[in-house]
Symmetry: C2
Amino acid sequence: MNDDHDVTVLRLGHRPGRDERMTTHVGLTARALGADRVIMAGSARGRTDTIVDITERFGGPFAVETTEEPKRTIRDFEGRVVHLTMYGEPIQDVVDDVRADHGTGPLLVVVGAEKVPFEVYEHADYNVGVTNQPHSEVASLAVFLDRLFEGRELDREWDDPDRVVVPKATGKKVVEPDDE
Amino acid sequence: MNDDHDVTVLRLGHRPGRDERMTTHVGLTARALGADRVIMAGSARGRTDTIVDITERFGGPFAVETTEEPKRTIRDFEGRVVHLTMYGEPIQDVVDDVRADHGTGPLLVVVGAEKVPFEVYEHADYNVGVTNQPHSEVASLAVFLDRLFEGRELDREWDDPDRVVVPKATGKKVVEPDDE
């Protein structure tokens, strides 16, 4: 986001049929809340179209990529790796360290579906829990990004949108950028 | 949560087949991040089992209810109504007001799927956007609750769990409560 080092979100463990909308929401949440790129692993690659389409309509930059070798993506990543998991250390205890690391280089944020291979836990520099309760990888990603960026992502501006939503107390207002 | 006034999450607009896991994740996120109750509207009522099951295993209190008349739930609610929508006012601008209202009475947080009836916008005391970008009702709910409770929800304790996850830097540790 902006002049920060890049934040990439890697979506692992997508199960066709079951996870279609969850995976789309991982990608859209990554984009909306300040990440620079999402990488969809394996069978999740079919979910890229919606995210590309939203980026074309509502603005970028935001990159959408796919990989057949997610473990290699993690292993070869040149920067810190954060794995979001209910088994990890409390976000409130570690996010300051993660933010300090992100001040010096890029970050890879790994979000799984139900079963994540043990190597991911081992390769991660941080295994981070947004609570130690079972809930949602989308919720965990959202809280993590909001705390990483300390809310700055909410004021992000977008390049080349076809349409812009104008906040309203009631109702909906969508304009073309020149109308603003 | 604890001694606070109740926070209820109302799930609207569930589309069978398409939204099954999203709706489950709305309920689990509500529970994990400090709400007291979720109400599933209409066809979403089939999604209550997983949330009840997680509450039995990981602890409560957390109530799961259903309604055939969600508009009446909103109309008759005795407290403030917050509707999360990408068309609403920026969360960073209104959350302090919402928190002040929650200091004096219960809160109903409405999250829709794609199409929410206009009456909901009108009946809501606050239409709130977690960014004005399209992303995920699960992500919006998570950021909203984290900011409403200012992180206190992360330290919530649970009554009568069968199992407790113990945070770890690497790997997984789950114990029965007496082992702790």
